[in-house]
Structures are given as C-alpha cells and as structure tokens.
Symmetry: C2
Subunit: 464 residues, 2 copies
Amino acid sequence: MKKLLLAAAAFSALTSAAVQAPAQNAASQAEKLRDAALKDDVAWDIMEGLTTEIGPRLAGTEAEARARDWAVRKLKSLGFANVHIETYDMPVWVRGEERAEIVSPFPQKLAVTALGNSGATPVEGIAAEVVGFDSLADLEAAADARVRGKIVFVTHSMTRTQDGSQYGYYGAVRRTGPSVASRKGAAAIVIRSIGTDKRRNPHTGVQMWAQGVTPIPAGALSIPDAEQLQRMLKRGKPVTMRLALTPRNIGMRQSGNVIAEVPGTDRNAGIVLIGGHLDSWDLGTGAFDNAAGVAITAAAAKRIMDAGRPRRTIRVVWFGAEEVGGNGSKAYRAAHGNESIVFVSESDFGADRVWRIEPGMAAANAPIVDRVAALLAPLGISRTTLPASAGADLGDWVRAGVAAIDLQQDGTRYFDLHHTPDDTLDKVDPEQLRQNVAAWTAMLSVVANAREPIERRPAAAAAQ
Amino acid sequence: MKKLLLAAAAFSALTSAAVQAPAQNAASQAEKLRDAALKDDVAWDIMEGLTTEIGPRLAGTEAEARARDWAVRKLKSLGFANVHIETYDMPVWVRGEERAEIVSPFPQKLAVTALGNSGATPVEGIAAEVVGFDSLADLEAAADARVRGKIVFVTHSMTRTQDGSQYGYYGAVRRTGPSVASRKGAAAIVIRSIGTDKRRNPHTGVQMWAQGVTPIPAGALSIPDAEQLQRMLKRGKPVTMRLALTPRNIGMRQSGNVIAEVPGTDRNAGIVLIGGHLDSWDLGTGAFDNAAGVAITAAAAKRIMDAGRPRRTIRVVWFGAEEVGGNGSKAYRAAHGNESIVFVSESDFGADRVWRIEPGMAAANAPIVDRVAALLAPLGISRTTLPASAGADLGDWVRAGVAAIDLQQDGTRYFDLHHTPDDTLDKVDPEQLRQNVAAWTAMLSVVANAREPIERRPAAAAAQ
C-alpha cells in the first residue's frame, strides 16, 4: 500500500490523497520516535558525564576547553557527522576570594558572590556604611550624596513563575544596578540574588559596565542574607559592612563552539539549527544551565539520525561563552550567517518538562506547527500565541526572520538553582528530562522531514 | 460558684466533686491560655532578634557571650524573675579555611566543612588518593592497608523521617567515623553530610576523638558533592583530592547558661525545669537549632506568668555549648542537681509543629499526662507509648528518674537544615511556631499547677 502510493506520487502531480498518505506515514513515524524517546537514556548519559567529568566550565578557562574536548569525543561516539570545534578569542574574567560581613551593629558573616565583570576590592576588603534600596528605581531616583562612598544594597520582589518571565524585569537589578551605583559614586554594590529560593547560595550572573562607567566591586548576597540585611537596616542604626571581592580580568583567552551534524538527504531544503550552551557558571556544575540543553538537543537529533537520514541536515551546536555575553553565538553567526539556515530552536531553560509551544513560523508553514502541536499534545504540551524568540544563542536568527519553534520548559524551580552552586545533577528529574527528549524528537522529525519549504517570517512578525 | 467550692474544699477533706471542679476550672484556664497562644508573637520576636542581632553563636566565642547579654536583656524585658548568667570554662575549637577539590581525574572544587574538633591540614592542604566506603561498617571492616595514607570517604543512606530517628544510626558516621579512620592510619576523612537535603551546604557537627586517637582532618561534603565523588569513584580510576581544613583549638574560654524564672506560690511543690540551647553552630544563624527552642519555652513560660503565679516555679534555662558537647548542661546539673526539680522538658528539634506527646511520668501521675493529652489533641497532637527522653541538655535528669513529657516536633525537614548555613530565620513558619507555643503553654499550665505531687519515676522505667 505504502509503496503503491509512493510510486503514484512519483508519476503525477501530488494529489491530495498522495500528500495525505505520506503525511500520515510521517506522523506515525514521528509518533513512534516520540514514544521511544520517553525511554531515552542518552540525554541523562550526556548530562551525567559532562557534569561529573568536567563539572563547572567557565567560558574561556581551561575547564571550558576540557569540556569541548569531552564534547567532541562524546558526539563522535554517538555517531554524529562533521564533529568539530570552532574557536574564537575573548576577554576572560575569573572569580577570586569572596567575603562579606557585618562589622556593626550586629557582627556576622554574610554569603556573597561576585557578579560577572565585578571590580575588585583590596584583599582585606573595604568597609563602608550600607545604604539600602527597595528597587532599582529607588536607587536610580536617589541623590548621589546618599550613595557616595557607601556600599549600595538593592533588593527586589522577584517571585516564582512557571514561565520565568520575572527574570527580565527583576534581572535589571543585576544587569544595570552596578552601573547606576558606580555613576552615583558608590564604593560597591551588593544586590539581593536574582532568584526564588531561600538558600544561602548566592546567584552570580553577568553584568556589563555601561559606557564610561568605572567598575566597582559588585556582588550578590544569598536571599536569606539579603533578608537578614534588610532586617538590620530596618532597625534604623547605621550598618557597616566589610566586603572583599578579588576577581581578576586575565586577558584574552580561547573559547569555542562544538558542532555536530545529522546529514540530510536534500541539500536544497536548508539546515535545521538547534542547540544549547556548553559553558556554565563556575559555582555549580551547570546541570540545568545548560548541560540539559546540550543533552536534550543532541539526544533528540541522534534519535532522528538513528531512524534514517532526514530530509534536512540537522546541525547541533553546543555554544561556548553564553553566560558571559554570548561570544560563542556571535562568533557562530558571524561565520555562518549566510548559510541556508531555515529553522532554529534552542534549549536553555533547565531540565524540567516542556509545557508549551511558542510558534514562530510563517503563515504558509502553519501546517508544520499544527503537526508539531498534534504530536506534542499527548506529552502534556499545549500551544500558546506567544511568538518564538529562541534564547540567548539563537535569538538573533529569530529576530532576523528565520523560522523557529520554542519548546518552553517549566521554570517553576529554575530560578532556585540558576547560577548558584546548587545547579548540580541531583536536581534533574530523569522522567522530565525524557519528556524533553520526546518533545524535541517529535518536533525535529516533523521539521527536518517536512515536504513543504520552510519559509522565512516577515521582518515585522519576527520583530514581535 | 467557684469561690463557694474553693471554700468548701478548704474546710473539708477533698471530696471528689471538689477536686473535679477546680480541675475543670484549671482545664478551662489552660484551654484559654492555649488558644490565646495561637496568636503568640513573643516566640517570633525572640527568634527574630536573636538570629538577626547576634546571628551565629558558637560556644565559647565572643558571639556566644554577646548572645548571653542579649538574652539577659530580653528575658528581663519580658518580666522574668531571677534572670542571670552562670558561667563555666571550656576548651574551644574554631573553624578555619575550608577547601576541597578533586585534582584528578576530574578537576573541580567540592563544598566541604570541618567537623567539630577536626584536626588541621597545612594551609596549602594535603593531596591524597580517596578510598570510598558505603557505610561505617564497611570502613570498620576494611584492612588498614587499604586506608593508610589515604583520604577516607564514607557515605550513608540516611533518609527523611518525621521523627528524625535515623539521626541516631547514621549519625555514627560523623561521631565515630573520624576515630575509626585515624586508627587505621588515614590521612584525613570526609563524610557525606549527615542530612536529608540536596543543597551544596555541608552539615557540620561535633565528633569526639576516641581515647588515644590522633586527630586527623575530618570534614563533611555537601550531599550533592558526596554523590559527585561517588560517581567519580564508580568510574574505577584513582581519584585524588586536595583537602585544606585549618581549624584551631584556642584553649579555655568562658561559656555560660542563662536562667530566668516564673516564681511559683508553693515552694514545696518542686521546680519545673524547661529550656533549649542558646549556642549554635557557626555556619547558620541557628534558627531551628535552637533559637526556636529558647523562644518557644520562654514564650510559653511568659504566658503562664502573665496569667498569674503558678503553683510551681517554672525555671527556663537557655543552655550554652550544647552543640559542642553539652558543657552547659553538665555545668548546670553539677550546680543544681540537688535542687527539687520535679519535672523537665526540652525543646530542641526545630520550629515545626508538635505532632506527638511522649510521656515520661510515674504511674501515679497518669492523670497529669491525660490532662495534657486532652488539651493538646485539638492542636493535632496525639500520644505515643514512646517514653520521654528530653534532649541533650535535660536527658540526664530524665535518666535519673525526674518526670518529663516530650512534645515531639515534626522533623521532616529538620535534617535539611541542621548544622548548615541554611539554618536561618526565613525557614521558620510562624504558624507552626505558634502551635508550639500553644502546646507548651497548655502543658506548663497543667504541670505547673497540678495539685497532686509530681512523682519520680522508678529507675527501671526511667532507663527505658
């Protein structure tokens, strides 16, 4: 039956019946691949290996280089084609000593960590009065005289959400707070960690000094410590803190992206580009952020590969240096921006289950999204009207009009772990990880094998 | 009615009716006090103040001395009588630097903390091969040659329980593991933290070197790090660790107990002795362990005091140096062992709700336990046949035959926090704290006012 219909299709213009039957076969194939992926062990194996054998892998350090070598060995052993490293150079900042203590009126240590690109104190630290603000807006509104020479403390009210959407707004305390404080003449700044846990493990994260701003020491207190400091400040007596942060800029170092491919049968159908990032912050072993993403995307791509050559080449990129500014994704786009990349999708939001589809395809490709949505519904995944934006590594492609689908993960506990020492393998739920692989496998099966062309999106829609 | 009956009782041998009516009045009074305590803010106020204004308060340090001064001010301001400090001297051990890292084959840092009385490494640490054991029994059974010159790692299988009963068994890894390792010639020992969480905050805790054993560096890895080390060891290649722990014994220092009283009306009825411990480990602010206990017992005693003088004096002791060996309780018993203490009860298991009564009274006093049980039942507290044992500070009194009732707290999350940096105020649920105060208030109301004599228990029952 199948052969007859295929033969018929080859000899005639595609009739409706002929289109439908291969589509049904493709759907049935995708369903089988999806269900088999619910027993996946490849993603766990990648995560376990990378977090155990490498551990933390800060961009531009020898640990990230070890991670690249590990990645090449792993991806080759999994059978991928064209496995290689593409390097680039970048300035590297590394953590030093980190200590904070209240000197008076209530002497005790606080748990602190430096934010990316933080300036340094002398080894013995600096001591200054703390001036507290309830929000970034309050700091921005403050007279310079209130801030000058002091250690600025900024808290915020980020709460737990499933979509992680509060990170954008409250994350500004980390991203721009240090520059605002420096402009006003602060001696240093410590923020309430951008997170949702109540553990004494501060959240690091990158911040970039605004043009012309002098770097000052910039740290994050753990959330319990930030609350402790607030209780002290509320008592109305001057609070003096000693802060020691001794990070260093160690100059230009090599970083790189690791690339692997599942070769397609049709060179003219364009490339499907997927991935996550290989680098991690230095405090944890980067399990959620983002061993999960590289593991999920590679495991799904391998499942497509093992089922026979797809129509489109699937290219898996494990990006370097996402955490510290996206140097890897910039280098990749600079080198490959002119290639026929027709679809992108990124996994960079932990290891918990996918719960919704955010579509980002041209109107002509609505049937592709429909087919993906139908295949993912049995996994507890529904569709939203929020447009796909990919993540930090592939967002530029989406903004440029390349088609995309985001498989949004449950972020309820993501910001408990994000950029902390607690981002470790033990947090991963193998069943939720497998659901990710199943969702990705089904999506890749549809997208890589779609018979219709994958269109670019109009610039306006892409800019949504 | 009440006055009439009391007058009748004064003129006659106590008739059954006359006993019953005051008992009913007492029960009604205890019920009112219990229900009012469900709105208590005193316990929270004590906890908030002690953990914020003092923070960590390691026995024998200046922080514990500040805590004693704070306690005296607080207890006086609450209206207690006879508030004073009783000091004693003790040897003091203090934490130094703490670093652990895997040198090969998978270089990365591990989160470690020193156990109490740990020996020290040189500042730069020691590097040695790790030899792993799945239990204390496995270490004990190992040939000395397997252990000599190595860093011993011992894991265990402690799990979460409501009654916290696994601490006794699995805690032996901490309490005796270091001495066993030293006897076999180990260079150092690191254990899987004695805890139930999955956070990268190791659990400290005291261990005493067995007679004649040479102190060696002894630390605890956080549970995620212990699991990481297990994964490395499972790969079968030699694992080399560098361990730096630089604690010091700083000689004899002063510690002390803080005492406060609610004076009773009947000096011959004996004293009700209750309390918790004021000292804490140095990593957290000792909220669960044990600001909660001193807060709950004092808040309940204050409620009895404010309702009018009880029959028996209630003595509240906030013990020093519980964590490091019970120096405070030993000093207290040595000084006060001959006084007429007729009942003891201790709160030292966190701030979560009381869920059961463990009775420890003579058969003749069964009606007292019955009255307490009836009053506590509406708070979700039921009776068990497990005998009372008090805790580390008042257990000796129970073993000597003094009557006791334990109000056992829910320990489900206790060993997530115990002896870690995460034992901080934010973990406390004010509603559960209030339920503790209500239970304690009701119990104290019954016990301090009981008209019948409180008997000693036979030695055999007490030794149960």
